[in-house]
């Protein structure tokens, strides 16, 4: 299953190779041209009819994770973050280190040994280490070197009310939806861009958008979902199971209202659940894309993900199906000459 393959694969920012390989295999039969640019973005073009606009659709391949910083005398691995993580979630998580996916666990001083003050404050990254079961520094060094990526070891699981738990749903959900989108034919030209290094500052999208120079752009994402205990309803950014979410504003983009409303209305007309993603901090590839060159109209549609940026992201299969439907409906709705600049 595609989403399982994509989420089980590892791809930290700058190390997206494994994910890229899966995507290249999957999309090959459905596109007219594939390029991998110098930063590692996959740029795949599916030609449409002349006179129709060029639509760039972006989904990022990278996920948040960790990177090996050093190996201490006991053979334990010290690490730093690759992308924005809540360090309070790290302790005791199983991880996979390096290309060979060496199994390890994030360790810390046992609670029995902690002073009272220590127990009351969350463990910081610098107090944690990864234990790969090595006997010595030399033992670890045979398998691991500084700069190796570390991914969470968390398998794709289906559970509950049509829900999925996996790591990296941000943004393999977007990647999967984009791959599925390429399986249909459209009047518009679709340029699917699977970007690198989104989690550390929208870097892949910055150069890809410059290269592609589309008439209009769409970003597919996994996004915050805060419809959980202890959060007042007014602070829900999105709700799980209420359909894909169209962005209004985040810290990198104010999304064009007419485009958001058009997509919202298309969804309603076709009986697809849809919601607005409320303004919040954070940003996605749209932030880089819409300020490219002379400016590009750009919108973002996301699958709500609870516990995002953790090993256990949770999303609804219904929302994912909704995202695929709404992207297809929108592409089919674009008319000849629309969005084309003179």
């Amino acid at each position: 299953m595609l989403l399982k393959r994509l989420t089980d694969a590892c791809g930290m920012p700058g190390g997206e190779g494994e994910v890229r390989q899966i995507i290249l295999e999957e999309i090959k039969p459905y596109v007219d041209d594939i390029k991998v640019d110098r930063l590692g973005n996959v740029i795949a073009t599916k030609n449409g009819k002349p006179g129709y606009p060029k639509v760039m659709i972006a989904a990022h391949m990278d996920e948040v994770g960790l990177m090996v910083k050093s190996i201490d005398d006991g053979g334990f691995i010290r690490f730093e973050q690759a992308g924005g993580l809540d360090e309070r979630i790290l302790v005791s998580k199983p991880v996979l280190v390096g290309k060979n996916k060496i199994q390890g666990v994030i360790g810390a001083k046992a609670i029995h040994l902690q002073e009272k003050g220590e127990r009351e404050t969350p463990l910081r990254t610098k107090q944690l280490y990864i234990d790969i079961g090595a006997k010595s520094k030399e033992d670890t060094e045979k398998l691991v070197k500084p700069g190796d990526y570390i991914a969470f070891d968390s398998e794709y699981v289906e559970f509950g009310n049509n829900l999925i738990k996996a790591k990296a749903l941000d943004d393999r959900a977007g990647c999967a939806a984009l791959i599925e989108t390429l399986k249909h034919n459209y009047d518009v030209t679709v340029v699917a861009v699977f970007t690198v290094q989104e989690e550390i500052g929208l870097r892949g999208a910055t150069v890809a958008a410059y290269k592609v120079n589309p008439d209009i752009a769409l970003v597919l994402e996994g996004t915050l979902c805060s419809d959980v205990s202890n959060v007042p309803e007014q602070s829900y950014i999105t709700k799980l199971g209420a359909g894909p979410a169209i962005s209004l504003m985040d810290s990198r983009t104010i999304f064009p209202k007419n485009l958001a409303k058009r997509i919202y209305d298309i969804a309603v007309k076709n009986g697809v659940d849809i919601q607005y993603r409320l303004p919040s901090s954070g940003g996605n590839d749209a932030g880089a894309i819409h300020t490219t060159r002379e400016g590009i109209p750009c919108t973002a549609i996301s699958v709500p993900c609870r516990y995002i940026h953790s090993p256990s992201c949770v999303m609804s299969k219904d929302d994912f199906e909704g995202l695929k439907k709404i992207v297809k409906l929108f592409l089919e709705d674009i008319k000849e000459g629309e969005y084309i600049r003179d």
Binding site: K257, Y276, L278, P279, H290, E294, G295, R341
Partner: protein
């Protein structure tokens, strides 16, 4: 003479970042007939060209103002919101806000014991609705509002919301009207989304590809009781920027401005702004680099509904801009 009617229209028109349609139309109407070409780009920047054979100069003033966006409407019709640009909870409290359709509201706050705990998330907008349904007839999630405060001008001072940066737009418009024989090709760009990160100026500068950039904006002053130390004073002349957090004014542009001011006896001050930035921050990093500077209007109480500038400073800014563009 200050054009009070134009100022009133510029200052009282609605236009938070990303929602510049109405203010763009006001400006477009006003400059029609003075520019050789007028266009709007993909992000909504209004670009007016005054043709010439010399260097390409981009003059940027931003149309957008700070505001709020609706995030939630509760069962009793109270509206939760978030900021667009730099909105302080302390200045927002009990201010009136105006939505695009003219709907008015007031910013209220939950019971809090210590004013230090004041945050926007504890505040709400009351539009006088008694239920969610009633509120939603006028306001929906994603709608935006600006702060509301009528324009006042008396003697040498102007007091209003959105002087940041409609006063820059005013300076640009009046300079465009006054500009008779410029040897240069001048692009008057009225930018969008400055308050959220110089976004409009970035794409406009890429499109214009100028030889020199001049931003027009307000700057802070150090002349109020126990103010943070700053040389700039309201009423003491137009301010020529040395630096802020977004740009170090290019030596040639700075020199051009200072010499022009001296030659024409235009009162000026040198501005070193320790926080904030303006459109020149985006313009000067465009493509392979654009020498850029800023002409600022000293402004008290920036980002409040009662910003204040001096008429004399505004007139001096217009004069300096015209003389620089004619050089």
């Amino acid at each position: 003479m200050i054009n009070k009617d134009l100022l009133k229209r510029l200052l009282e028109t609605f236009g938070p970042s990303g929602n510049e349609e109405a203010i763009r139309e006001v400006i477009r109407e006003e400059i029609k007939g003075y520019a050789d070409e007028i266009k709007v780009d993909a992000l909504g920047n209004l670009i007016a060209v005054k043709k010439g054979n010399g260097k390409k100069i981009m003059v940027a003033s931003h149309m957008d103002e700070i505001g709020i966006m609706v995030t939630n409407i509760d069962d009793n019709g109270f509206i939760r919101f978030t900021n667009i640009g730099g909105v302080s909870p302390y200045t927002a409290l009990y201010q009136r806000v105006m939505f695009a359709d003219g709907t008015m509201g007031v910013v209220g706050v939950e019971k809090i014991d210590n004013m230090k705990d004041l945050t926007l998330s504890k505040m709400f907008i009351d539009i006088g609705a008694y239920s969610k349904e009633e509120a939603m007839k006028k306001v929906n999630v994603g709608d935006v509002a600006c702060f509301y405060a009528p324009f006042v001008q008396d003697g040498d001072y102007i007091m209003s919301k959105a002087l940041d940066d409609r006063i820059g737009c005013y300076v640009a418009i009046e300079a465009l009207k006054a500009l008779k024989n410029s040897p240069n090709e001048v692009y008057f760009v009225f930018t969008v989304q400055e308050e959220v990160g110089l976004r409009g100026a970035k794409t406009a500068a890429y499109g214009v590809d100028p030889d020199m950039g001049i931003a027009l904006d307000v700057t802070l002053t150090g002349d109020t009781p126990k103010a943070k130390t700053m040389e700039v004073k309201m009423g003491k002349g137009t301010a020529i920027k040395i630096k802020d957090n977004s740009v170090l004014a290019h030596p040639t542009v700075k020199k051009l401005m200072i010499e022009t001011a001296q030659e024409n006896n235009i009162p000026y001050q040198l501005e070193i702004l320790e926080g904030g930035g303006t459109d020149s921050g985006a313009i000067h990093l465009t493509k392979s680099g654009v020498p850029s500077g800023v002409i600022s209007v000293p402004c008290r109480y920036v980002h409040s509904p009662s910003e204040m500038v001096s008429v004399k400073d505004v007139e001096n800014s217009i004069q300096l801009l015209v003389k620089v563009l004619e050089k």
